[in-house]
Each structure stands twice: as structure tokens, then as C-alpha cells.
């Protein structure tokens, strides 16, 4: 296969775009795609102070690298979850990445917060994944607001977005369908949230990370087997192989036609978040999930 632009040997094939690229042309394609997403969705500007959540995986590191290359003011945030045989390696990757790309880094240690994930897992009767996700989102938001960042960015990709949209659609979950998208404005105690890689697949991010010689953490989380999002991604990858481009079409059509009615409905019928009685973080009622989890861990000591 030849590169669509310069006719050199292609190193990346993209059936969804019916094309292939050499290394240099793929990187230009990728960076232009991110630039276009930022501009068209009005995600942020060069004046914004951007906090990027860095897990150590290919997506978050690719996100930080591309924004840095494009000239944005980026800072990293890593949540150390204290998971044995996983967290130390992920944290090391993030520290080396930020150091070599001159990106200031904030590390939040869950052990110091009484929320180390193995302890959280012990007190839960269900899968730890949703609690872990909630804890991470809590601290992403808290650090963004406490430290004066104007934007909170994550490396969520098209596959993540599709898996979530599919899951929400299967349950017709109106509150979640109403706020899914690449941009969530700051309101009710939440920071402005953006997903600059929403048009790019995991495959494209992995290629970008590889071609930029990024060291990234690719070992799966030891607690993740059985996660529903993995099953949805598998299903969608099968569909995409049969019908290239279907993922992006499904997602962009939702943004164009599907989201607004759910948003309107939620505006009229939904519940407005209130500050948690304990920590002030927005919650649906009373004490927030993270404070309750912290209490459960402390009670188990």
C-alpha cells in the first residue's frame, strides 16, 4: 500500500478513510484531525490553562503530546491508584513522559486519600471499575477547580465514546445521553471538560504513540477482566471491519441529531446537582459517592 499523499510505502492503513499513510503524512493527518476537532467544537483556545488526565496509556499520552506540539498550555495530572503490579509502572511512564516533554505534572496519591483501589475493592460487593472511575473523575475535577485550570482534558477516543454511547443507548439512560460529547461546559461545580481525541480511534492513537516513540503502559489493569466496555468495543470492532467508517458516522450523527432532545428533556425533567454535605463536590443528593466510599474503607480498617 502506498501513502495517499507522498506515495511512499504506507505504514498505517485506515479503511474508515479508505486510505493509508507513511509515518510523516500520518502524523500530519492525526495532528490536523485534532486541530480540526478543537476548532469546530470550540473546545479551548491558546489562552486556556489545560489540565490533562494522564493514566500512562497511549491515548492520554498521545493527547498530551499532540496538544503540546500544537502549542497549547498543558499540565498533567496522574492519579496513583495504588494497584499492586500496575500503578507504579504507570506512574513511572507518566513521570518520564512529562519530564522529557517539559510538561508540569501533578500526582495525586490515593493511598494518602484513604482510597487505594485494592482497599476499595475489598469493601465493595460489585465490580470495582465503576467506583475507580468515579474516584478518578472526582479528583480530575477537584484538582482542575482547586488549581485554577480553565479546561480539563482527557484522552478518551472514538472507541471509548462509542462504547459509552452504545451502553447508554442500550439502557436509554437519558441523563448520560444528555451530556455525552466532546465538550461539557463548566457548571454546577464541574470544570469544563473536553475530549480532543473523540474523532480518533484507539488504533490511530496507538500508531501516533508508536511513531512518536512514546513509551506507554499497555498492560491491562489486573481488575479489568469482564468490564462491559471491553465487550462493546469488541462488538463494534467487528462491525467496523464489515462496514468501515460506521463508528464515526454513528457518533457524529448522535452529536448532530441525537443529543439535543435528550439534553432538552433532562433540562426540564432531570435533577440538578447539589454540593456534597461533606466535601462540596457536586452530587445528586446528600453525601457523594466518593465520601461514602472513603467512609466504607475507613470503617473496614
Amino acid at each position: 500500500m502506498k501513502c495517499k499523499v507522498c506515495k511512499a510505502t504506507a505504514v498505517v492503513s485506515l479503511p474508515s478513510h479508505n486510505t493509508g499513510f507513511c509515518a510523516d503524512c500520518f502524523m500530519s493527518f492525526y495532528e490536523r484531525s485534532v486541530e480540526r476537532s478543537i476548532r469546530r467544537q470550540k473546545l479551548f483556545t491558546f489562552e486556556d490553562k489545560i489540565l490533562i488526565a494522564l493514566s500512562g496509556g497511549k491515548d492520554s499520552l498521545a493527547c498530551a503530546l499532540v496538544l503540546k506540539k500544537l502549542g497549547y498550555n498543558v499540565h498533567g495530572l496522574h492519579i496513583d491508584l495504588a494497584i499492586p503490579d500496575s500503578s507504579a509502572a504507570a506512574r513511572g511512564v507518566v513521570e518520564r513522559f512529562c519530564d522529557s516533554h517539559d510538561i508540569p505534572l501533578i500526582i495525586k496519591k490515593m493511598e494518602e486519600e484513604g482510597l487505594q483501589i485494592p482497599r476499595v475493592k475489598k469493601v465493595l460487593s460489585r465490580s470495582v471499575c465503576s467506583a475507580c472511575g468515579r474516584i478518578k473523575r472526582y479528583f480530575f475535577n477537584k484538582v482542575a477547580i482547586d488549581e485554577g485550570f480553565t479546561v480539563l482534558a482527557t484522552g478518551h477516543n472514538l472507541d471509548d465514546e462509542i462504547a459509552r454511547l452504545f451502553s447508554n443507548t442500550l439502557r436509554w439512560d437519558i441523563p448520560h445521553l444528555s451530556d455525552q460529547g466532546p465538550l461539557l461546559e463548566a457548571e454546577n461545580g464541574f470544570a469544563r471538560k473536553v475530549r480532543p481525541l473523540f474523532r480518533l480511534t484507539e488504533f490511530e492513537n496507538a500508531n501516533y504513540a508508536f511513531l512518536n516513540d512514546l513509551e506507554y503502559h499497555y498492560a491491562p489493569c489486573p481488575y479489568s477482566p469482564g468490564a462491559t466496555s471491553t465487550a462493546y468495543k469488541k462488538l463494534w470492532n467487528q462491525l467496523e471491519e464489515e462496514m468501515p467508517g460506521r463508528k464515526l458516522a454513528f457518533y457524529t450523527a448522535f452529536l448532530a441529531h441525537g443529543r439535543e432532545p435528550f439534553r432538552q428533556f433532562e433540562k426540564e425533567e432531570g435533577t440538578k446537582p447539589v454540593p456534597c454535605e461533606r466535601c462540596g463536590y457536586p452530587t445528586s443528593v446528600g453525601i457523594c459517592g466518593v465520601c461514602r466510599t472513603r467512609d466504607a474503607v475507613a470503617a473496614d480498617e
Partner: protein, 76 residues
């Protein structure tokens, strides 16, 4: 009495390391597409790497090639 001469050779094929499991197998595959069919992987879910170079599905493989197939689908 003359002893039989035993010659040990590497089996014909390409050596494939699957990541993140880090399993290594030797397979008879003449192209990346054949290799991916054998290991039942979709081209859009893995990076195929030879000598630090990415390979698309139509690339030919040769005896003795050392290939890394790295899954890109994150779990959880």
C-alpha cells in the same frame, strides 16, 4: 560404528511475539494478512511491528522475520 548426525534448525516461518501477553510463537505466514488470519486478529486492533517499523496488512513476510503483534484495545 558411526553416529547419526543430528542437525537442529529453527522451524520454517516467522517468529511472532504477542503483546501484552508476551507469548512467542513460530508461524508459517507469507504476509501480514495471513499472519493476522492465523492468530485471528483484526488489522484495526493491533500494531504489527518488524525491526521497529509498522507494517500494513499487504506487506510480505520472510523466513526468519521477528514480528511483534501488539494489541491496541485497552480494557476496563
Amino acid at each position: 560404528m558411526q553416529e547419526d548426525k543430528v542437525v537442529y534448525t529453527k522451524p520454517y516461518g516467522v517468529t511472532v511475539t504477542l503483546q501484552p501477553q508476551n507469548e512467542t510463537r513460530t508461524l508459517k505466514a507469507r504476509s501480514v494478512r495471513q499472519l493476522l488470519n492465523i492468530i485471528k486478529a483484526s488489522p484495526a486492533t493491533v500494531l504489527v511491528i518488524r525491526n521497529n517499523e509498522l507494517l500494513t496488512s499487504d506487506r510480505k513476510l520472510s523466513h526468519g522475520d521477528e514480528i511483534i503483534v501488539r494489541t491496541v484495545v485497552s480494557s476496563g
